[in-house]
């Protein structure tokens, strides 16, 4: 059973069609990259996955169950979400940020502390040094790492990342991508990764879904994607 499945999903807002009859399957352990220009519906697809939006027609299934049938709060806590500006809580320390969902979920303090330490260790920000800092005391790259750690905290079944490394310099970006690949190996997490950077897509995806005009223009693993012949895919590949 796919972890996430889009069945003929269309989404309209204020009479404007954002997504048209999208069909996608994300299998366990896979890293699907949604590639596309600004406004191609990538972020909408993520928000449809965690129930921040619901399809106008068709359905989005998470672990086989339509997002409409999930309890909205449960669904969101079951899915990790990282946004570009990270949205870290400025009044919480790094440790409190990372431990938030487990806390909301009622984990015991010891278990939260252990989990936070493990995750911070894994994103290269050891708790002893960084745990008690506030987001404003971190660099952009460090904040993104905390964002990823926070999204992983409550052992979500799938991780959604919305251009998480879009706002950092190229060198930091490269490091973050490397770390993301390592994290994927460590936690074997299923993920849907949104980007407009074709290099990033080739590097991080097990499959790439190119969105254009609200449709899936091309869907293939990175190797095949390089041979893509659609006009939109050629435009993206020309950036390589």
């Amino acid at each position: 059973m796919p972890v996430v499945e889009f069945r003929d999903v269309s989404f309209e807002i204020a009479g404007r069609r954002i997504l048209s009859a999208i069909n996608l399957c994300v299998e366990a352990g896979e890293s699907l990259v949604l590639l596309g220009r600004s406004g191609s519906g990538k972020t909408t697809a993520l928000k449809l996955t965690n129930g921040m939006l619901f399809p106008t027609s068709g359905q989005v299934l998470v672990e086989g169950r339509s997002t409409r049938d999930w309890d909205p709060i449960r669904l969101k806590r079951h899915i990790g979400y990282v946004i570009q500006e990270t949205g870290l809580f400025p009044h919480f320390t790094v440790a409190q940020n990372v431990g938030l969902v487990p806390k909301l979920e009622g984990w015991e303090a010891d278990r939260i502390a252990t989990r936070v330490e493990e995750l911070l260790q894994n994103v290269g920000l050891p708790g002893a040094e960084f745990g008690s800092r506030y987001p404003r005391q971190l660099s952009g790259g460090q904040r993104q790492r905390v964002g990823v750690a926070r999204a992983l905290a409550a052992e979500p079944s799938v991780l959604l990342l919305d251009e998480p490394f879009g706002a950092v310099d190229p060198v930091t970006r490269f490091d973050l991508q490397e770390q993301f690949l390592q994290l994927r190996r460590t936690f074997e997490k299923t993920s849907i990764f949104v980007t407009h950077d074709v290099r990033e897509a080739m590097r991080l995806g097990t499959r790439i879904a190119l969105l254009a005009g609200g449709r899936v223009d091309f869907l293939a693993p990175p190797g095949e994607f390089q041979q893509a012949t659609t006009k939109e895919a050629r435009s993206f590949l020309a950036c390589l």
């Binding site: 921040m52 969101k76 946004i83 500006e85 990270t86 949205g87 809580f89 400025p90 909301l104």
Partner: protein, 205 residues
């Protein structure tokens, strides 16, 4: 004579504090929740902020006057005074609560929702803490103005330090005026500094 004046200063200062304290407590209890409602319901915000702004434009002596003939709520004495003070203190508290909440970074609110916070968790754990400095700033402004406005209470028999001032004005007695004005000014300064300190102490984010 001197001890009489001192004991009267103490008594009227106490009365003044009592008027201001009750009015501020009520204004906070009403203003903060109304500010939250305004922030959550844009349709309500126009009405609430509009109403509070209009009240503020009424000259205070006139507002006290309007309240005298109103049965139950109004009349001569402290009740009318407290109602008028609450109405004046409401706007800065309501407006700052509203502004504090709606100006919380949208990325932060969005990620809170995306993480599965309920509406009340979002409010309690994210919006109110991040708005707290702005809310305190509103309370600070309200407290300082309320202390000043409360001196007019004496005009409708509400007591407080205004008693000295009205008496001093009527009998052209500077000592009496100062006996009312100095403690009132000191109280306002204390409130300003106290809330200012609290404002700075809250997380500088």
């Amino acid at each position: 004579m001197r001890t009489d004046l001192t004991s009267e200063i103490v008594r009227l200062t106490g009365q003044h504090l009592w008027l201001v304290g009750i009015a501020m407590a009520l204004a906070i209890l009403m203003g903060v929740p109304l500010g939250i409602v305004a922030a959550r319901r844009p349709a309500a915000s126009r009405w609430l902020l509009g109403f509070a702004s209009v009240v503020q434009t009424i000259p205070s002596l006139a507002l006290f006057g309007f309240l005298i003939p109103i049965p139950v709520l109004g009349g001569i004495g402290p009740r009318s005074v407290i109602i008028a003070l609450v109405m004046y203190a409401l706007l800065p508290i309501l407006r700052n609560t509203y502004v504090g909440i709606v100006t919380v970074d949208t990325a932060v609110c969005e990620s809170a929702v995306a993480m599965g916070m309920t509406g009340s968790q979002l409010l309690r754990l994210v919006q109110l803490p991040l708005a707290s400095r702005t809310i305190i700033a509103g309370i600070r402004v309200a407290a300082v103005t309320t202390i000043g406005t409360a001196t007019i209470a004496a005009a409708i028999g509400g007591g407080g330090l205004g008693v000295f001032i009205f008496r001093g004005v009527a009998s052209v007695d500077t000592t009496q005026i100062l006996a009312g004005a100095i403690p009132a000014a000191a109280m306002a300064l204390l409130a300003d500094n106290g809330f200012g300190w609290l404002e700075r102490k809250l997380s500088p984010v």
